[in-house]
């Protein structure tokens, strides 16, 4: 028999847990369950009909969906590596105390403070064919024949958007990596220097391995962010041209709100499939991070 002192203080625990639990159940768990339920129904105002796996069968043959998957996965795989590797270089530059480091740190971090809407509009200007900065620079250096509507052609639209997210998020990654670098144990660095370890060797054999858990966490964060990207695409290209920047999120939105139907069943099927895919990726990445951390410690 437990003594009153050992018994859980439910009177205190419940009031603390209840609000968060209610929010979680109402705003996360219920919508997820409801989306899965919707995906096997035709969901129209005032009437719902069970359709079994019909939406999933249709989804399997939906070219636009698979194109959106391809674009999103490409973005989610390419952007994190660009962001983190450039961020690491910038963080190392600041760590090495380059001139004007404080100003550079602020300048490089600033983009992440802006919303995707603002960033999208700014980059639409930069990519404008006639007077955008990108083409103006190309023309100024005699490469005018390379000028093109960067967001308007199928070959360049997705890479152009990946450049935008890289520009936006590199600063955030840089700050986190800089903090990790500053947190490195000084005795290890000093020991490496006593062993006459050069800059390159110190970086690749001591510093990067020590901050690898941070790098992996940043990669996972960036990956998840890109798997659900919507706002930037919506502001700049709406998925065009020819679906070359269509992401799963924009496609779900189009099917739910711009398809001349009130049916939420099919968009829910897309969302359900995508939820499973993203969760699988995240599970694998999390396992990799944990494995890495176990090896480290």
């Amino acid at each position: 028999m437990t003594s009153p002192r050992e018994r859980p203080a439910w009177g205190a625990i419940v009031p603390f847990l209840l609000p968060a639990t209610v929010f979680y159940l109402g705003l996360t768990a219920y919508p997820v369950i409801r989306t899965v339920w919707n995906s096997v129904h035709e969901v129209l105002p005032r009437r719902e009909a069970y359709v079994g796996g019909a939406h999933y069968v249709e989804l399997w043959a939906d070219d636009t969906f698979w194109r959106a998957v391809r674009n999103t996965v490409t973005w989610a795989l390419v952007a994190p590596f660009l962001e983190v590797s450039i961020a690491l270089l910038l963080a190392l530059a600041l760590y090495a105390r380059v001139p004007a480091a404080r100003i550079l740190r602020i300048a490089w971090f600033t983009p992440v403070l802006m919303s995707y809407v603002v960033v999208g509009i700014v980059w639409m200007w930069i990519y404008n064919y006639d007077w955008g900065a990108a083409n103006a620079i190309l023309r100024a250096v005699g490469l005018g024949h390379w000028a093109q509507p960067w967001l308007g052609t199928t070959d360049t639209a997705l890479p152009a958007l990946i450049v935008v997210t890289t520009w936006m998020w590199t600063g955030f990654n840089m700050v986190v990596l800089l903090a990790a670098l500053h947190a490195l144990p000084t005795e290890v660095i000093e020991a490496a220097e006593l062993d006459r370890c050069g800059w390159g060797a110190k970086l690749t054999r001591v510093m990067v391995p020590l901050i690898l858990p941070t790098i992996l966490n940043l990669l996972v964060l960036s990956f998840v962010g890109k798997m659900k990207i919507f706002d930037l695409v919506w502001i700049t290209t709406k998925g065009g041209p020819l679906w070359s920047t269509e992401t799963v999120s924009t496609y779900v939105y189009k099917r739910a709100f711009e398809w001349s139907t009130f049916d939420l069943g099919y968009p829910s099927a897309i969302a359900t499939v995508w939820f499973v895919i993203v969760m699988s990726f995240v599970a694998v990445l999390t396992w990799m991070v944990r494995r890495q951390q176990k090896l480290e410690y």
């Binding site: 636009t64 064919y129 308007g152 020819l242």
Partner: protein, 427 residues
């Protein structure tokens, strides 16, 4: 309590009771959700109608909430589903999902249809019942900078219509002089890039077969369709459109036509005026701009060279769940008078589904309406642009392929045919 002392109390109670009984009538409110938050002429017109309605119906007020279109559509989708929609709201005829899901009130009774153009009523008719009051109507026009045209050695044709061959010649001549021939911008709209293509298809096929094409009853590999697409493709290959057409926005394409850099032609809805007639510092055309209006170019072997598209745009509908359907209908009737029709023309400078005498339009823009009427004389109208007729995947494909990729030279005629055939058979 003595009767004398009770008297004031009873009187007060009687007054309060009377006030309470009168209160519902006094506070009756019609809610209106409308697009055109940023389009002052249209908004002022609606506000004038509200003022007149409220003056004629004491005790009834209209509470208007103004939106931009996308925000309005998103708000309506959730509000209507939840039974929280306004009494009256803005809609366009392609939003058939409202009718299909029973959200709109049948307007067969209670609306003064005698003052509405029959074709405009027809566009809003489903199953024999009209569901919307068509306020805004527009035609597809080919606007011209007549000064640039004459500098290229051409004059406005007497019948106000070039052939495709002539247009191609002008395009080539303009390019030789480093002038972009035709302005268009599809960066933020799903339809302006398709104007030239669908008007070519309409003239080549004629109204009946063009309608069948859009219903999927004629395939896109029909020789007449392919021939029409090739005619447009020839213009694309002659670099008729701006290099940045795929990202140029609608507002920018207006400025591109009349100000900087300046093009010869501009295929556009007749609501061109809503931007172009603003002051130049607000994106309007220069005061002395030599504006001309032509019919779209006629293709070879055109089955109907006088055919053109007329479309109904902004309309008002009544929520089927409105608690004040009769008052809402009375409000819509505030628009259905010849005076209001003329006021629309005068203020908004775009056609309307309300019967109105163009002759009543006076002032500096009266000449514009005469030119517009001349360009439309003898026209045989097809109702609705493809975007208002196609649904689902066909609509999305038309937007991506015909509106954007085709005129920016990113797909061939064969690819357009393949994509459209595939999409017309899909959901």
């Amino acid at each position: 309590m003595t009767p004398r002392r009770a008297m004031p109390g009873c009187a007060l109670a009687a007054v309060l009771a009377a006030a309470a009984l009168a209160a519902p009538a006094a506070s009756q409110e019609i809610t209106l959700w409308s697009h055109w938050a940023a389009e002052q002429p249209k908004r002022q017109f609606i506000e004038e109608a509200i003022r007149r309605f409220e003056a004629a119906h004491p005790g009834v007020t209209v509470r208007a909430t103004w939106y931009e279109k996308n925000a309005l559509y998103a708000a309506l989708r959730t509000a209507l589903r939840a039974g929280q929609g306004p009494d009256v709201f803005y809609a366009e005829p392609d939003q058939v999902e409202y009718v299909q899901n029973g959200f709109l009130l049948d307007l067969s009774q209670g609306i003064d249809w005698a003052n509405v153009e029959p074709w405009a009523r027809e566009i809003w008719t489903h199953g024999g019942k009209p569901y919307g009051l068509p306020l805004e109507a527009w035609t597809v026009e080919l606007y011209v900078n007549t000064r640039l045209l004459s500098e290229l050695g051409w004059q406005m044709p007497a019948n106000l219509q070039f052939t495709h061959g002539q247009l191609l010649e002008i395009v080539r001549k303009a390019r030789e002089r480093n002038i972009v021939p035709i302005s268009a911008g599809v960066g933020d709209r799903p339809f302006p890039g398709a104007f030239l293509t669908h008007e070519t298809l309409l003239m080549r096929l004629g109204r009946v077969d063009y309608g069948r094409l859009l219903k999927g009853e004629i395939r896109w590999d029909d020789p007449r369709v392919v021939e029409s697409l090739r005619a447009v493709r020839a213009l694309v290959e002659a670099r008729a459109f701006p290099p940045g057409v795929a990202t140029l926005q609608l507002g920018q394409s207006h400025v591109y036509f009349h100000t900087n850099p300046g093009t010869v032609f501009f295929p556009m809805g007749s609501w061109y005026t809503s931007r172009a007639f603003n002051p130049p510092d607000q994106g309007g055309q220069p005061a002395d701009f030599p504006l001309g209006i032509l019919r779209m170019p006629a293709p070879d072997n055109a089955a109907c060279p006088t055919c053109r598209t007329i479309a109904v745009g902004g309309s008002y509908v009544i929520n089927a769940a409105s608690r004040h359907p009769d008052k809402a209908k009375a409000f819509l009737n505030a628009f259905t008078t010849p005076e209001m029709g003329a006021l629309w023309l005068q203020n908004v400078m775009v056609q309307t589904g309300i019967k109105a005498d163009v002759g009543m339009v006076t002032g500096p823009r009266a000449g514009y309406f005469r030119d517009l009427a001349a360009a439309n004389e003898g026209s045989e109208y097809f109702f609705g642009i493809p975007l208002q007729i196609l649904q689902g995947r066909a609509r999305d494909t038309f937007t991506q392929v015909v509106n954007t990729a085709f005129i920016s030279g990113q797909v061939t005629v064969e690819e357009v045919v393949r994509q459209m055939n595939a999409a017309m058979g899909a959901r």
